[in-house]
Amino acid sequence: MRNESKEDIKPSTASERVFAVKVDDLTVAYNYKPVLWDIDLEIPEGVLMAIVGPNGAGKSTLIKSILGILKPIAGSVTIYGKPYEKQRRLVAYVPQKGSVDWDFPTTALDVVMMGTYGSLGWIKRPGQKEKKASLEALEKVGMLPFKNRQISQLSGGQQQRIFLARALVQNASIYFMDEPFQGVDATTEIAIINILKELRRAGKTVIVVHHDLQTVPEYFDWVTFLNVKKIATGPVKDIFNDDNLTKTYGINYQVSIQE
Protein backbone atom coordinates (compact mmCIF):
# COMPACT_ATOMS: atom_id res chain seq x y z
CA MET A 1 0.00 0.00 0.00
CA ARG A 2 2.79 2.29 0.89
CA ASN A 3 4.56 1.63 -2.40
CA GLU A 4 1.52 2.74 -4.34
CA SER A 5 1.28 6.02 -2.52
CA LYS A 6 4.95 6.55 -3.09
CA GLU A 7 4.40 6.12 -6.81
CA ASP A 8 1.94 9.01 -6.77
CA ILE A 9 4.44 11.22 -5.14
CA LYS A 10 7.30 10.58 -7.48
CA PRO A 11 6.14 11.04 -11.04
CA SER A 12 9.00 9.71 -13.13
CA THR A 13 8.30 11.89 -16.12
CA ALA A 14 7.34 15.09 -14.43
CA SER A 15 8.27 18.30 -16.15
CA GLU A 16 9.34 19.91 -12.91
CA ARG A 17 11.83 17.80 -11.06
CA VAL A 18 10.73 16.60 -7.63
CA PHE A 19 13.55 16.41 -5.15
CA ALA A 20 13.79 13.92 -2.31
CA VAL A 21 14.36 16.84 0.02
CA LYS A 22 13.89 20.48 -0.84
CA VAL A 23 14.72 23.22 1.64
CA ASP A 24 13.69 26.79 0.86
CA ASP A 25 14.99 29.90 2.59
CA LEU A 26 15.33 28.09 5.88
CA THR A 27 16.41 30.19 8.85
CA VAL A 28 16.68 28.60 12.28
CA ALA A 29 17.49 30.31 15.55
CA TYR A 30 18.00 29.23 19.14
CA ASN A 31 16.68 31.92 21.45
CA TYR A 32 16.60 34.36 18.57
CA LYS A 33 20.22 33.76 17.76
CA PRO A 34 20.26 32.54 14.18
CA VAL A 35 22.44 29.50 13.59
CA LEU A 36 21.28 28.69 10.08
CA TRP A 37 20.66 31.44 7.60
CA ASP A 38 18.59 31.36 4.48
CA ILE A 39 19.46 27.85 3.47
CA ASP A 40 18.33 26.68 0.06
CA LEU A 41 19.03 23.04 -0.54
CA GLU A 42 17.88 20.54 -3.07
CA ILE A 43 18.77 16.91 -2.58
CA PRO A 44 18.05 14.68 -5.56
CA GLU A 45 16.73 11.20 -5.05
CA GLY A 46 19.20 8.35 -4.75
CA VAL A 47 22.30 10.20 -3.65
CA LEU A 48 24.60 9.40 -0.78
CA MET A 49 25.29 12.85 0.54
CA ALA A 50 27.70 14.17 3.15
CA ILE A 51 27.02 17.33 5.09
CA VAL A 52 30.34 18.81 6.16
CA GLY A 53 31.21 21.84 8.23
CA PRO A 54 33.04 22.78 11.40
CA ASN A 55 31.68 22.14 14.92
CA GLY A 56 28.76 24.38 15.61
CA ALA A 57 28.15 24.98 11.91
CA GLY A 58 24.54 23.96 12.32
CA LYS A 59 24.63 20.52 10.74
CA SER A 60 22.59 18.85 13.44
CA THR A 61 20.32 21.85 13.50
CA LEU A 62 19.69 21.55 9.77
CA ILE A 63 18.70 17.91 10.09
CA LYS A 64 16.55 18.56 13.12
CA SER A 65 14.66 21.32 11.42
CA ILE A 66 14.12 19.25 8.29
CA LEU A 67 12.66 16.56 10.53
CA GLY A 68 10.39 18.99 12.34
CA ILE A 69 12.12 18.59 15.69
CA LEU A 70 12.96 22.30 15.63
CA LYS A 71 10.63 24.98 14.40
CA PRO A 72 12.33 27.35 11.95
CA ILE A 73 11.65 31.08 12.02
CA ALA A 74 11.40 31.20 8.28
CA GLY A 75 11.40 28.95 5.29
CA SER A 76 9.89 25.66 4.34
CA VAL A 77 10.90 22.05 3.83
CA THR A 78 9.35 19.54 1.51
CA ILE A 79 9.92 15.82 1.17
CA TYR A 80 9.06 14.59 -2.31
CA GLY A 81 7.12 17.76 -2.86
CA LYS A 82 4.96 17.62 0.24
CA PRO A 83 5.42 18.92 3.76
CA TYR A 84 7.21 16.71 6.23
CA GLU A 85 4.14 15.99 8.35
CA LYS A 86 2.56 14.14 5.44
CA GLN A 87 5.71 12.24 4.54
CA ARG A 88 7.00 11.04 7.89
CA ARG A 89 6.88 7.39 6.88
CA LEU A 90 9.37 8.06 4.13
CA VAL A 91 12.00 9.35 6.51
CA ALA A 92 14.28 7.65 9.02
CA TYR A 93 16.62 9.34 11.47
CA VAL A 94 19.80 8.37 13.29
CA PRO A 95 20.44 10.99 15.98
CA GLN A 96 23.82 12.09 17.23
CA LYS A 97 24.96 9.51 19.75
CA GLY A 98 25.03 11.67 22.84
CA SER A 99 21.35 12.49 22.58
CA VAL A 100 19.94 9.58 24.56
CA ASP A 101 20.30 8.15 28.02
CA TRP A 102 22.38 5.02 27.52
CA ASP A 103 21.68 3.77 31.03
CA PHE A 104 18.01 3.44 30.17
CA PRO A 105 16.67 0.01 31.12
CA THR A 106 16.23 -1.45 27.68
CA THR A 107 17.88 -3.99 25.40
CA ALA A 108 19.38 -3.66 21.95
CA LEU A 109 16.45 -5.47 20.36
CA ASP A 110 14.00 -3.19 22.17
CA VAL A 111 15.70 -0.10 20.81
CA VAL A 112 15.62 -1.43 17.27
CA MET A 113 11.94 -2.27 17.65
CA MET A 114 11.28 1.38 18.41
CA GLY A 115 11.90 1.94 14.72
CA THR A 116 8.61 0.19 14.03
CA TYR A 117 6.57 2.38 16.38
CA GLY A 118 6.05 5.08 13.78
CA SER A 119 4.27 2.82 11.33
CA LEU A 120 2.29 1.22 14.14
CA GLY A 121 0.87 4.57 15.22
CA TRP A 122 -0.72 5.23 18.60
CA ILE A 123 -1.53 2.45 21.07
CA LYS A 124 -0.96 -0.57 18.81
CA ARG A 125 1.82 -2.82 20.09
CA PRO A 126 4.61 -4.36 18.04
CA GLY A 127 3.97 -8.02 17.27
CA GLN A 128 5.74 -10.93 15.63
CA LYS A 129 6.07 -9.16 12.31
CA GLU A 130 7.82 -6.18 13.86
CA LYS A 131 10.07 -8.42 15.90
CA LYS A 132 11.10 -10.36 12.83
CA ALA A 133 11.92 -7.16 10.96
CA SER A 134 13.95 -5.91 13.91
CA LEU A 135 15.92 -9.13 14.14
CA GLU A 136 16.68 -8.91 10.45
CA ALA A 137 17.93 -5.36 10.86
CA LEU A 138 20.12 -6.46 13.75
CA GLU A 139 21.48 -9.24 11.60
CA LYS A 140 22.27 -6.80 8.84
CA VAL A 141 24.40 -4.62 11.12
CA GLY A 142 26.01 -7.69 12.66
CA MET A 143 24.53 -7.16 16.09
CA LEU A 144 22.30 -10.21 16.35
CA PRO A 145 24.44 -11.88 19.06
CA PHE A 146 23.97 -8.78 21.24
CA LYS A 147 20.22 -8.49 20.93
CA ASN A 148 19.51 -9.02 24.62
CA ARG A 149 22.29 -6.81 25.93
CA GLN A 150 21.44 -3.75 27.96
CA ILE A 151 22.47 -0.87 25.75
CA SER A 152 25.03 0.67 28.11
CA GLN A 153 26.93 -2.61 27.97
CA LEU A 154 27.63 -2.10 24.29
CA SER A 155 30.70 -0.37 22.95
CA GLY A 156 30.40 3.01 21.23
CA GLY A 157 30.57 1.45 17.78
CA GLN A 158 28.00 -1.16 18.70
CA GLN A 159 25.64 1.49 20.00
CA GLN A 160 26.01 3.29 16.70
CA ARG A 161 25.11 0.08 14.86
CA ILE A 162 22.00 -0.31 16.98
CA PHE A 163 20.89 3.17 16.00
CA LEU A 164 21.53 2.31 12.38
CA ALA A 165 19.46 -0.86 12.72
CA ARG A 166 16.63 1.15 14.25
CA ALA A 167 16.63 3.41 11.21
CA LEU A 168 16.84 0.45 8.82
CA VAL A 169 13.80 -1.14 10.36
CA GLN A 170 11.81 1.98 9.52
CA ASN A 171 12.22 0.91 5.90
CA ALA A 172 12.22 4.50 4.71
CA SER A 173 13.15 6.20 1.47
CA ILE A 174 15.31 8.91 2.98
CA TYR A 175 17.79 8.37 5.78
CA PHE A 176 19.22 11.18 7.89
CA MET A 177 22.24 10.23 9.97
CA ASP A 178 23.96 12.56 12.38
CA GLU A 179 27.60 11.51 12.64
CA PRO A 180 27.15 7.76 12.40
CA PHE A 181 30.93 7.30 12.37
CA GLN A 182 31.51 9.07 15.64
CA GLY A 183 33.69 6.95 17.92
CA VAL A 184 33.66 4.01 15.56
CA ASP A 185 36.64 1.86 14.59
CA ALA A 186 37.78 1.30 11.03
CA THR A 187 36.06 -2.06 10.65
CA THR A 188 32.72 -0.77 11.82
CA GLU A 189 33.08 2.32 9.67
CA ILE A 190 33.51 0.17 6.60
CA ALA A 191 30.62 -2.05 7.64
CA ILE A 192 28.38 0.96 8.07
CA ILE A 193 29.39 2.62 4.83
CA ASN A 194 28.73 -0.63 2.97
CA ILE A 195 25.23 -0.68 4.36
CA LEU A 196 24.74 2.92 3.29
CA LYS A 197 25.99 2.16 -0.19
CA GLU A 198 23.61 -0.75 -0.37
CA LEU A 199 20.77 1.56 0.57
CA ARG A 200 21.74 3.89 -2.24
CA ARG A 201 21.82 1.00 -4.69
CA ALA A 202 18.28 0.22 -3.61
CA GLY A 203 17.34 3.73 -4.71
CA LYS A 204 17.23 5.32 -1.25
CA THR A 205 18.53 8.74 -0.42
CA VAL A 206 21.04 8.88 2.40
CA ILE A 207 22.18 12.08 4.10
CA VAL A 208 25.08 11.85 6.50
CA VAL A 209 26.75 14.42 8.73
CA HIS A 210 30.41 13.64 8.30
CA HIS A 211 33.58 14.97 9.86
CA ASP A 212 36.40 13.08 8.18
CA LEU A 213 37.11 15.10 5.04
CA GLN A 214 39.68 12.61 3.75
CA THR A 215 37.06 9.95 3.19
CA VAL A 216 34.41 12.13 1.58
CA PRO A 217 35.36 11.37 -2.04
CA GLU A 218 35.61 7.68 -1.29
CA TYR A 219 32.30 7.30 0.54
CA PHE A 220 29.95 9.85 -0.94
CA ASP A 221 28.77 11.00 -4.33
CA TRP A 222 27.11 14.22 -3.21
CA VAL A 223 28.20 16.82 -0.70
CA THR A 224 26.89 19.94 1.03
CA PHE A 225 29.20 22.46 2.64
CA LEU A 226 27.59 24.21 5.55
CA ASN A 227 28.66 26.91 7.93
CA VAL A 228 25.72 28.97 9.11
CA LYS A 229 25.06 29.57 5.43
CA LYS A 230 25.07 26.97 2.72
CA ILE A 231 28.44 27.31 1.02
CA ALA A 232 27.93 24.84 -1.79
CA THR A 233 26.06 21.70 -2.71
CA GLY A 234 26.47 19.27 -5.56
CA PRO A 235 28.32 16.21 -6.83
CA VAL A 236 31.53 15.47 -4.96
CA LYS A 237 33.59 15.36 -8.13
CA ASP A 238 32.50 18.87 -9.11
CA ILE A 239 32.55 20.82 -5.90
CA PHE A 240 34.72 19.04 -3.37
CA ASN A 241 37.75 21.30 -3.70
CA ASP A 242 40.07 23.45 -1.62
CA ASP A 243 38.14 26.56 -2.51
CA ASN A 244 34.90 25.38 -0.92
CA LEU A 245 36.73 23.82 1.99
CA THR A 246 38.45 27.09 2.72
CA LYS A 247 35.18 28.96 2.51
CA THR A 248 33.61 26.51 4.95
CA TYR A 249 36.37 25.96 7.45
CA GLY A 250 38.00 29.37 7.55
CA ILE A 251 40.73 31.29 5.92
CA ASN A 252 43.72 29.03 5.98
CA TYR A 253 42.16 25.68 5.56
CA GLN A 254 44.42 23.35 3.65
CA VAL A 255 43.52 19.84 2.79
CA SER A 256 44.94 18.23 -0.27
CA ILE A 257 42.69 15.60 -1.57
CA GLN A 258 44.26 12.85 -3.54
CA GLU A 259 42.08 11.10 -5.99
Binding site: K64, L67, G68, I69, E85, R88, V91, Y93, P95, S99, V100, D101, F104, P105, T106, T107, D110, V111, M114, Y117, G118, L120, W122, I123, K124, R125, P126, Q150
Partner: protein, 375 residues
Amino acid sequence: MDISKYIELVFTDYTLRTITLGTAILGAITGMLGSFAVLRKQSLLGDAISHAALPGIAIAFLITGAKDTNTLLIGALVSGLIGTFWIKNIVTKTHLKSDTALGLILSVFFGFGMLLLTFIQKQPNANQAGLDKYLFGQAATLVESDVWMMAIVTGICLMVMLTFWKEFKILLFDADYTKTLGFNTKTIDILITVFIVLAIVLGLQTVGVVLMSAMLLAPAAAARQWTNSLAKMVFLAAVFGAFSGVFGTAISASQNNLSTGPVIVLVASVFVGFSFIFSPSRGLLFKQIRVIKNRRDLELHKTLAFMYHIAETHENTSHPHKIKLLNNFHGYTKSTLQKLVDKNYVKINGSMWSLTETGFETAANLYTKQETEDE
Protein backbone atom coordinates in the same frame (compact mmCIF):
# COMPACT_ATOMS: atom_id res chain seq x y z
CA MET B 1 3.47 -7.59 69.64
CA ASP B 2 4.43 -10.72 67.72
CA ILE B 3 4.18 -11.00 64.00
CA SER B 4 1.48 -13.63 63.56
CA LYS B 5 -0.77 -11.70 65.86
CA TYR B 6 -0.13 -8.56 63.89
CA ILE B 7 -0.94 -10.27 60.61
CA GLU B 8 -4.15 -11.56 62.10
CA LEU B 9 -4.99 -8.05 63.18
CA VAL B 10 -4.40 -6.69 59.70
CA PHE B 11 -7.16 -8.94 58.42
CA THR B 12 -9.59 -8.48 61.25
CA ASP B 13 -9.12 -4.94 62.47
CA TYR B 14 -10.91 -2.42 60.29
CA THR B 15 -8.57 0.50 60.90
CA LEU B 16 -5.41 -1.47 60.48
CA ARG B 17 -6.70 -3.13 57.35
CA THR B 18 -7.61 0.24 55.85
CA ILE B 19 -4.25 1.73 56.66
CA THR B 20 -2.27 -1.24 55.41
CA LEU B 21 -4.23 -1.34 52.18
CA GLY B 22 -3.88 2.41 51.74
CA THR B 23 -0.12 2.52 52.23
CA ALA B 24 0.34 -0.52 50.01
CA ILE B 25 -1.60 1.06 47.15
CA LEU B 26 0.17 4.35 47.67
CA GLY B 27 3.56 2.64 47.60
CA ALA B 28 2.64 0.84 44.42
CA ILE B 29 1.51 3.92 42.51
CA THR B 30 4.38 6.11 43.62
CA GLY B 31 6.85 3.35 42.83
CA MET B 32 5.39 2.96 39.37
CA LEU B 33 5.31 6.65 38.52
CA GLY B 34 8.55 7.27 40.33
CA SER B 35 10.26 5.07 37.76
CA PHE B 36 9.24 7.54 35.10
CA ALA B 37 10.37 10.53 37.18
CA VAL B 38 13.76 8.97 37.79
CA LEU B 39 14.27 8.07 34.15
CA ARG B 40 13.26 11.57 33.07
CA LYS B 41 15.97 12.99 35.34
CA GLN B 42 13.31 14.76 37.34
CA SER B 43 14.10 13.17 40.65
CA LEU B 44 14.06 16.39 42.61
CA LEU B 45 11.01 17.85 40.93
CA GLY B 46 8.91 15.57 43.13
CA ASP B 47 10.46 17.15 46.19
CA ALA B 48 9.61 20.61 44.97
CA ILE B 49 6.05 19.66 44.02
CA SER B 50 5.28 18.08 47.36
CA HIS B 51 6.58 21.08 49.30
CA ALA B 52 4.79 23.44 46.97
CA ALA B 53 1.53 21.66 47.79
CA LEU B 54 1.50 22.80 51.41
CA PRO B 55 0.15 26.35 50.96
CA GLY B 56 -2.58 24.88 48.77
CA ILE B 57 -3.78 22.73 51.65
CA ALA B 58 -3.79 25.69 54.01
CA ILE B 59 -5.58 27.98 51.57
CA ALA B 60 -8.17 25.34 50.76
CA PHE B 61 -8.83 25.08 54.47
CA LEU B 62 -9.00 28.84 54.93
CA ILE B 63 -11.45 29.24 52.07
CA THR B 64 -13.78 26.33 52.69
CA GLY B 65 -13.19 25.68 56.36
CA ALA B 66 -13.59 22.03 55.45
CA LYS B 67 -11.40 19.31 56.82
CA ASP B 68 -12.29 16.60 54.35
CA THR B 69 -9.33 15.19 52.53
CA ASN B 70 -10.49 15.64 48.98
CA THR B 71 -11.06 19.38 49.23
CA LEU B 72 -7.67 19.88 50.80
CA LEU B 73 -5.99 17.70 48.22
CA ILE B 74 -7.50 19.70 45.40
CA GLY B 75 -5.89 22.74 46.97
CA ALA B 76 -2.63 20.80 47.14
CA LEU B 77 -2.95 19.79 43.51
CA VAL B 78 -3.48 23.37 42.37
CA SER B 79 -0.60 24.83 44.29
CA GLY B 80 1.65 21.90 43.35
CA LEU B 81 0.91 22.58 39.70
CA ILE B 82 1.54 26.30 40.14
CA GLY B 83 4.91 25.48 41.70
CA THR B 84 5.79 23.12 38.86
CA PHE B 85 4.79 25.66 36.27
CA TRP B 86 6.77 28.41 37.95
CA ILE B 87 9.88 26.23 38.13
CA LYS B 88 9.64 25.48 34.42
CA ASN B 89 9.14 29.16 33.72
CA ILE B 90 12.15 30.23 35.77
CA VAL B 91 14.35 27.71 34.01
CA THR B 92 13.25 28.65 30.50
CA LYS B 93 12.95 32.40 30.88
CA THR B 94 15.89 33.31 33.10
CA HIS B 95 19.49 32.24 33.42
CA LEU B 96 18.83 30.62 36.79
CA LYS B 97 19.61 26.92 36.74
CA SER B 98 17.10 24.22 37.54
CA ASP B 99 18.60 23.38 40.91
CA THR B 100 18.17 26.98 42.05
CA ALA B 101 14.63 27.08 40.74
CA LEU B 102 13.77 23.85 42.55
CA GLY B 103 15.32 24.89 45.86
CA LEU B 104 13.79 28.32 45.67
CA ILE B 105 10.25 27.23 44.94
CA LEU B 106 10.25 24.38 47.40
CA SER B 107 11.53 26.45 50.30
CA VAL B 108 9.51 29.56 49.58
CA PHE B 109 6.24 27.72 49.02
CA PHE B 110 6.86 25.63 52.08
CA GLY B 111 7.65 28.67 54.19
CA PHE B 112 4.49 30.35 52.99
CA GLY B 113 2.56 27.20 53.82
CA MET B 114 4.00 27.16 57.32
CA LEU B 115 3.09 30.79 57.77
CA LEU B 116 -0.49 29.97 56.89
CA LEU B 117 -0.54 26.89 59.09
CA THR B 118 0.71 28.75 62.12
CA PHE B 119 -1.76 31.50 61.34
CA ILE B 120 -4.61 28.97 61.19
CA GLN B 121 -3.55 27.37 64.43
CA LYS B 122 -3.87 30.66 66.23
CA GLN B 123 -7.40 31.27 64.99
CA PRO B 124 -9.74 30.72 67.91
CA ASN B 125 -12.66 29.26 65.99
CA ALA B 126 -10.74 27.06 63.59
CA ASN B 127 -11.10 23.36 64.02
CA GLN B 128 -7.54 23.28 62.93
CA ALA B 129 -6.76 19.84 64.23
CA GLY B 130 -5.33 17.68 61.50
CA LEU B 131 -3.47 19.99 59.17
CA ASP B 132 -0.23 19.07 60.91
CA LYS B 133 -0.51 15.58 59.58
CA TYR B 134 0.38 16.83 56.14
CA LEU B 135 3.90 17.55 57.32
CA PHE B 136 4.98 14.01 58.10
CA GLY B 137 1.88 12.04 57.28
CA GLN B 138 -0.43 10.21 59.61
CA ALA B 139 -1.58 6.96 58.08
CA ALA B 140 -3.86 6.44 61.07
CA THR B 141 -6.14 9.16 59.71
CA LEU B 142 -6.82 7.24 56.51
CA VAL B 143 -10.42 6.19 56.11
CA GLU B 144 -12.01 3.81 53.66
CA SER B 145 -13.00 6.53 51.23
CA ASP B 146 -9.40 7.73 51.04
CA VAL B 147 -8.31 4.24 50.14
CA TRP B 148 -10.99 4.04 47.49
CA MET B 149 -9.78 7.30 46.07
CA MET B 150 -6.23 5.98 45.89
CA ALA B 151 -7.38 2.72 44.34
CA ILE B 152 -9.37 4.51 41.66
CA VAL B 153 -6.54 6.85 40.74
CA THR B 154 -4.12 3.94 40.69
CA GLY B 155 -6.50 1.99 38.49
CA ILE B 156 -6.85 4.85 36.00
CA CYS B 157 -3.14 5.42 36.03
CA LEU B 158 -2.46 1.75 35.41
CA MET B 159 -4.89 1.66 32.53
CA VAL B 160 -3.42 4.73 30.89
CA MET B 161 0.06 3.39 31.39
CA LEU B 162 -0.75 0.06 29.80
CA THR B 163 -2.52 1.73 26.91
CA PHE B 164 0.28 4.14 26.13
CA TRP B 165 3.13 1.92 27.26
CA LYS B 166 4.89 2.02 23.94
CA GLU B 167 4.62 5.80 23.71
CA PHE B 168 5.81 6.36 27.28
CA LYS B 169 8.78 4.12 26.73
CA ILE B 170 10.01 5.67 23.52
CA LEU B 171 9.51 9.22 24.80
CA LEU B 172 11.51 8.47 27.92
CA PHE B 173 14.32 6.99 25.90
CA ASP B 174 14.60 9.32 22.94
CA ALA B 175 12.30 12.33 22.78
CA ASP B 176 13.59 13.83 19.53
CA TYR B 177 13.30 10.54 17.70
CA THR B 178 9.77 10.13 19.03
CA LYS B 179 8.88 13.44 17.45
CA THR B 180 10.21 12.40 14.07
CA LEU B 181 8.01 9.32 14.18
CA GLY B 182 5.00 11.60 14.41
CA PHE B 183 3.98 11.18 18.02
CA ASN B 184 2.75 14.25 19.80
CA THR B 185 5.37 14.35 22.51
CA LYS B 186 3.71 17.23 24.37
CA THR B 187 0.60 15.18 25.06
CA ILE B 188 2.58 12.22 26.38
CA ASP B 189 4.74 14.56 28.42
CA ILE B 190 1.79 16.30 30.04
CA LEU B 191 0.15 12.94 30.75
CA ILE B 192 3.21 11.70 32.63
CA THR B 193 3.67 14.95 34.56
CA VAL B 194 0.03 15.12 35.62
CA PHE B 195 0.14 11.56 36.90
CA ILE B 196 3.31 12.23 38.86
CA VAL B 197 1.77 15.30 40.51
CA LEU B 198 -1.38 13.32 41.24
CA ALA B 199 0.57 10.52 42.90
CA ILE B 200 2.45 13.01 45.05
CA VAL B 201 -0.73 14.73 46.17
CA LEU B 202 -2.35 11.39 47.01
CA GLY B 203 0.54 10.54 49.27
CA LEU B 204 0.59 13.76 51.27
CA GLN B 205 -1.85 12.57 53.90
CA THR B 206 0.08 9.37 54.49
CA VAL B 207 3.70 10.33 54.04
CA GLY B 208 3.63 14.11 54.30
CA VAL B 209 5.05 16.91 52.19
CA VAL B 210 8.52 16.79 53.68
CA LEU B 211 9.34 13.22 52.73
CA MET B 212 7.00 12.48 49.85
CA SER B 213 9.70 12.72 47.22
CA ALA B 214 11.54 9.76 48.71
CA MET B 215 8.49 7.59 48.05
CA LEU B 216 8.84 8.51 44.42
CA LEU B 217 12.55 7.89 44.14
CA ALA B 218 13.49 5.11 46.50
CA PRO B 219 11.44 2.21 45.10
CA ALA B 220 12.40 3.16 41.55
CA ALA B 221 16.09 3.50 42.36
CA ALA B 222 16.02 0.11 44.09
CA ALA B 223 14.15 -1.54 41.25
CA ARG B 224 16.53 -0.22 38.61
CA GLN B 225 19.33 -2.30 40.14
CA TRP B 226 17.66 -5.64 39.57
CA THR B 227 16.64 -5.50 35.95
CA ASN B 228 17.42 -4.05 32.56
CA SER B 229 13.85 -4.06 31.34
CA LEU B 230 11.58 -1.08 31.77
CA ALA B 231 8.49 -3.22 32.32
CA LYS B 232 10.17 -5.26 35.04
CA MET B 233 11.58 -2.13 36.60
CA VAL B 234 8.17 -0.49 36.87
CA PHE B 235 6.66 -3.67 38.25
CA LEU B 236 9.43 -4.16 40.79
CA ALA B 237 9.24 -0.54 41.87
CA ALA B 238 5.53 -0.98 42.51
CA VAL B 239 6.26 -4.09 44.58
CA PHE B 240 9.03 -2.41 46.57
CA GLY B 241 6.81 0.61 47.14
CA ALA B 242 3.92 -1.52 48.33
CA PHE B 243 6.13 -3.48 50.70
CA SER B 244 7.65 -0.28 52.08
CA GLY B 245 4.12 0.89 52.78
CA VAL B 246 3.04 -2.31 54.49
CA PHE B 247 6.19 -2.76 56.57
CA GLY B 248 6.34 0.92 57.42
CA THR B 249 2.75 0.87 58.60
CA ALA B 250 3.36 -2.23 60.67
CA ILE B 251 6.36 -0.69 62.38
CA SER B 252 4.78 2.65 63.06
CA ALA B 253 1.52 1.05 64.22
CA SER B 254 3.34 -1.05 66.76
CA GLN B 255 5.12 1.93 68.29
CA ASN B 256 3.91 4.98 70.07
CA ASN B 257 3.81 8.39 68.45
CA LEU B 258 5.76 7.54 65.33
CA SER B 259 4.61 9.32 62.19
CA THR B 260 4.16 6.94 59.29
CA GLY B 261 6.08 9.01 56.75
CA PRO B 262 9.57 8.72 58.19
CA VAL B 263 9.17 5.01 58.89
CA ILE B 264 7.94 4.18 55.40
CA VAL B 265 10.75 6.25 53.91
CA LEU B 266 13.29 4.49 56.04
CA VAL B 267 12.00 1.07 54.98
CA ALA B 268 12.17 2.15 51.35
CA SER B 269 15.72 3.39 51.93
CA VAL B 270 16.67 0.01 53.30
CA PHE B 271 15.43 -1.51 50.04
CA VAL B 272 17.65 0.94 48.18
CA GLY B 273 20.72 0.21 50.28
CA PHE B 274 20.19 -3.51 49.95
CA SER B 275 19.77 -3.25 46.18
CA PHE B 276 22.84 -1.06 45.78
CA ILE B 277 24.96 -3.58 47.57
CA PHE B 278 23.53 -6.95 46.67
CA SER B 279 22.14 -6.67 43.17
CA PRO B 280 23.88 -9.39 41.18
CA SER B 281 24.63 -7.42 38.01
CA ARG B 282 25.13 -3.86 39.21
CA GLY B 283 25.58 -4.19 42.96
CA LEU B 284 28.66 -2.85 44.67
CA LEU B 285 29.47 -6.10 46.45
CA PHE B 286 29.56 -8.24 43.35
CA LYS B 287 31.32 -5.52 41.43
CA GLN B 288 34.02 -5.49 44.08
CA ILE B 289 34.27 -9.25 44.01
CA ARG B 290 34.56 -9.18 40.26
CA VAL B 291 37.28 -6.55 40.43
CA ILE B 292 39.30 -8.63 42.86
CA LYS B 293 38.76 -11.79 40.86
CA ASN B 294 39.80 -10.07 37.65
CA ARG B 295 42.91 -8.73 39.29
CA ARG B 296 43.79 -12.24 40.46
CA ASP B 297 43.10 -13.74 37.07
CA LEU B 298 45.22 -11.08 35.48
CA GLU B 299 48.13 -11.87 37.76
CA LEU B 300 47.76 -15.53 37.04
CA HIS B 301 47.64 -14.90 33.32
CA LYS B 302 50.68 -12.66 33.45
CA THR B 303 52.66 -15.30 35.29
CA LEU B 304 51.54 -17.93 32.86
CA ALA B 305 52.48 -15.69 29.96
CA PHE B 306 55.91 -15.13 31.44
CA MET B 307 56.41 -18.87 31.79
CA TYR B 308 55.19 -19.33 28.25
CA HIS B 309 57.90 -17.00 27.04
CA ILE B 310 60.55 -19.05 28.81
CA ALA B 311 59.11 -22.34 27.66
CA GLU B 312 58.96 -21.06 24.09
CA THR B 313 62.73 -20.68 24.00
CA HIS B 314 63.11 -24.40 24.28
CA GLU B 315 62.18 -26.85 21.56
CA ASN B 316 60.36 -29.11 23.95
CA THR B 317 57.79 -26.83 25.49
CA SER B 318 57.40 -28.96 28.58
CA HIS B 319 61.08 -28.86 29.29
CA PRO B 320 61.67 -28.09 33.00
CA HIS B 321 63.13 -24.76 34.09
CA LYS B 322 64.40 -23.42 37.39
CA ILE B 323 61.86 -21.82 39.71
CA LYS B 324 64.44 -19.16 40.50
CA LEU B 325 64.06 -17.88 36.97
CA LEU B 326 60.56 -16.71 37.88
CA ASN B 327 61.89 -14.28 40.42
CA ASN B 328 62.80 -12.03 37.54
CA PHE B 329 59.10 -11.56 37.00
CA HIS B 330 57.59 -8.81 39.01
CA GLY B 331 54.17 -10.23 39.83
CA TYR B 332 55.38 -13.67 40.81
CA THR B 333 54.45 -15.16 44.20
CA LYS B 334 54.49 -18.68 45.54
CA SER B 335 50.73 -18.77 45.80
CA THR B 336 50.20 -17.89 42.15
CA LEU B 337 52.51 -20.71 41.22
CA GLN B 338 50.54 -23.04 43.45
CA LYS B 339 47.30 -21.94 41.80
CA LEU B 340 48.71 -22.69 38.39
CA VAL B 341 49.68 -26.15 39.64
CA ASP B 342 46.15 -26.62 40.99
CA LYS B 343 44.75 -25.73 37.60
CA ASN B 344 47.03 -28.32 36.07
CA TYR B 345 48.82 -25.76 33.91
CA VAL B 346 52.18 -26.29 35.54
CA LYS B 347 54.07 -29.21 37.03
CA ILE B 348 56.60 -28.79 39.79
CA ASN B 349 59.45 -31.12 40.33
CA GLY B 350 61.77 -30.12 43.16
CA SER B 351 63.16 -26.71 42.27
CA MET B 352 62.14 -27.06 38.65
CA TRP B 353 58.88 -26.27 36.89
CA SER B 354 57.52 -27.17 33.49
CA LEU B 355 54.41 -26.22 31.55
CA THR B 356 51.91 -28.97 30.93
CA GLU B 357 50.36 -29.28 27.52
CA THR B 358 47.10 -27.66 28.64
CA GLY B 359 49.11 -24.91 30.28
CA PHE B 360 51.00 -24.20 27.09
CA GLU B 361 47.83 -24.13 25.02
CA THR B 362 46.01 -21.86 27.42
CA ALA B 363 48.92 -19.46 27.41
CA ALA B 364 49.07 -19.50 23.62
CA ASN B 365 45.34 -18.84 23.43
CA LEU B 366 45.67 -16.02 25.89
CA TYR B 367 48.06 -14.38 23.51
CA THR B 368 46.01 -14.55 20.37
CA LYS B 369 42.96 -13.44 22.31
CA GLN B 370 44.73 -10.43 23.68
CA GLU B 371 45.97 -9.45 20.28
CA THR B 372 42.56 -9.54 18.67
CA GLU B 373 41.10 -7.59 21.56
CA ASP B 374 43.71 -4.91 21.27
CA GLU B 375 42.90 -4.37 17.67
